[in-house]
Amino acid sequence: MERIAKAHVVVGGTAEGPLVKSTCPISFWGGVDPQSGSIIDRRHDRCGDTIAGCVFAFPEEKGSSTASAVLVELIRNGQAPAAIITREMPAILALGSIIGDELYCTSVPILVIDPASYDSLADGSRLRISERGEIRLVGNGG
């Protein structure tokens, strides 16, 4: 498996899933449906796509501090992303992931990578994430 990046681990954990890569910052509050995991912000480039079970990459979080509660609700409903990759530390989503871990024993790994590594991520590719923040490409078809 090809290692494509080593990330700074904000919230640790292992994960695997297809990459949904976005060019827009997002607020989970008003941006992601907590029941289905679909992106609902009409101004977002991935509006209509689901992030449930996917590795979701976006440049940075924005907006409401209630986004943490949306991630907790996604975790509760089994619709959370497999992992989150950003370029800037997403403190609000980190909080949601930690609360999800404490309340439902399920955290979402949150990783921060440098802009060059971020650019090298290919939308739709299958990624595996290690506890130490290594991001690997899983070969064609996994």
């Binding site: 509660a69 609700e73 509760r76 980190a94 909080l95």
Partner: protein
């Protein structure tokens, strides 16, 4: 607390605080002396399960703690048309937060009814407008605490030592000069909201230092400015020179640093921003009027009564719903003054404990909302799916009577 010797709720809360300190790179924790919780306003299965887990495991606040809005008017929700299952769940959430030992203030303006932290005091507040007010007007120190960090801070009495809790991070970044504006403009709280909206747009999450404002300024005007600035932007501290306790002078606000940039705001910028806050034009039909975002104070009730008295017996149009939002203490004071009866006779619907963005009190077929709030004007199109007519309190009450957008002349230039 972390080892669980004082119970699962303490362990849970302290684990969240220390893990967040690690996540944001804070090397130590500090004690806080007061908390204001926003998480009680959330309506979801996990928000109920979270607070039930805490309370059933013995969770109690360690510092004096007030509560932000809940998702319904706890007394009148049935008459306001809130669905039964929604009301039942919100009531259970409200009860759980009371068990936590918090004061049931149910308001987004705790600083006007109950909580008044001291200058320099370390606190942990949620609710963006309250955070901005605590930092900028009272000189207390808090970051914007999201859900459910606010609850964990209240239970442990500890937060990561970072951000606006530290001296260095409180230094102003941007210098804003307000000039050439006619003095009469500042008599409308809507003008302060407009300036706040502009600051939020321009500064984002920076710390502005604003010079050139009148020094004789009322709490409601600062409330309007800061609520708008914390909506269109993420402003948590705004140094108002001569008003903010730690910004007696520019030098003090910048703490020896240089501004990254200087922005000038004059009458034209304010006028354009005021118009941008509206999507409905003059004369367009209005079906809903919202006053009290953030919650109306006693003096804002007084202003409404002055406007109603001026209208010589006119009543709210039967095509319009006028919602006046506040908290129980202010409504009690207004009732003592005979104003609640008078506003109800005028045709207003009084709502307390909640707001239109947390509770289904605006009809789903509403199409145009008139409001004097910059915060409400910012959120209403996305959250309520409506057009907005932003204006003075008097313009909003005239719109309620005539059922259409009313504009009165404002002399902008000094």
């Amino acid at each position: 607390m972390l080892s669980g010797e004082s119970g699962e709720a303490d362990r849970f809360a302290m684990s969240v605080i220390t893990r967040m300190a690690n996540a944001v790179g804070a090397s130590s924790l500090i004690s806080i002396e007061q908390a204001h919780l926003d998480a009680c306003a959330l309506m979801s299965d996990s928000s109920l399960e979270f607070i039930q887990h805490i309370v059933e495991n013995g969770g109690r606040v360690r510092v004096p703690t007030t509560l932000n809005m809940v998702s319904l008017d706890l007394d009148a929700w049935r008459t306001l048309g809130v669905p039964e299952d929604f009301g039942e769940k919100a009531t259970r959430i409200a009860e759980a937060y009371k068990k936590l030992g918090a004061v049931p203030t149910w308001t987004c303006a705790p600083y006007q009814v109950f909580a008044s932290p001291r200058f320099g005091q370390q606190i942990a507040w949620g609710e963006s407008n309250a955070v901005a007010y605590a930092n900028s007007v009272l000189g207390a120190r808090t970051n914007r605490y999201g859900d459910y960090m606010d609850v964990c801070a209240a239970i442990t009495g500890r937060v990561p030592y970072c951000g606006l809790h530290r001296d260095a991070e409180r230094a102003a970044t941007d210098f804003v000069i307000v000039e050439g504006v006619n003095e009469s403009v500042w008599s409308h709280t809507a003008s302060w909201a407009t300036l706040g909206h502009l600051l939020g747009q321009e500064i984002g999450s920076g710390v502005p230092a604003v010079d050139g404002l009148p020094r004789a300024v009322e709490s409601d005007q600062l409330k309007a400015l800061l609520a708008a600035a914390a909506s269109s932007g993420a402003i948590a501290l705004c140094h108002l020179i001569g008003i903010t306790p730690e910004a007696r002078s520019l030098e003090q606000a910048f703490r020896g640093k240089r501004p990254t940039r200087t922005i000038r705001i004059g009458p034209e910028e304010l006028r354009v921003c005021w118009e941008d806050l509206s999507s409905a034009s003059e004369g367009a039909p209005v079906d809903t009027v919202i006053l009290g975002c953030p919650h109306s104070s006693y003096h804002e009730f007084a202003e409404m009564i002055r406007c109603v008295d001026d209208m010589g017996g006119a009543r709210v149009s039967d095509r319009v719903r006028l919602l006046i939002i506040s908290n129980a203490p202010m409504v009690a004071l207004a009732r003592r003054s005979g104003w609640i009866e008078k506003l109800q006779a005028f045709g207003a619907t009084l709502v307390h404990d909640t707001c239109p963005f947390h509770s289904p009190i605006v009809r789903s077929d509403a199409s145009t909302v008139a409001t004097d709030s910059g915060k409400c004007a910012y959120y209403a199109p996305g959250e309520l799916g409506v057009h907005v007519a932003f204006g003075t309190t008097r313009e909003c009450l005239l719109a309620a009577v005539r059922g259409k957008v009313i504009r009165e002349e404002i002399r902008w230039n000094a």
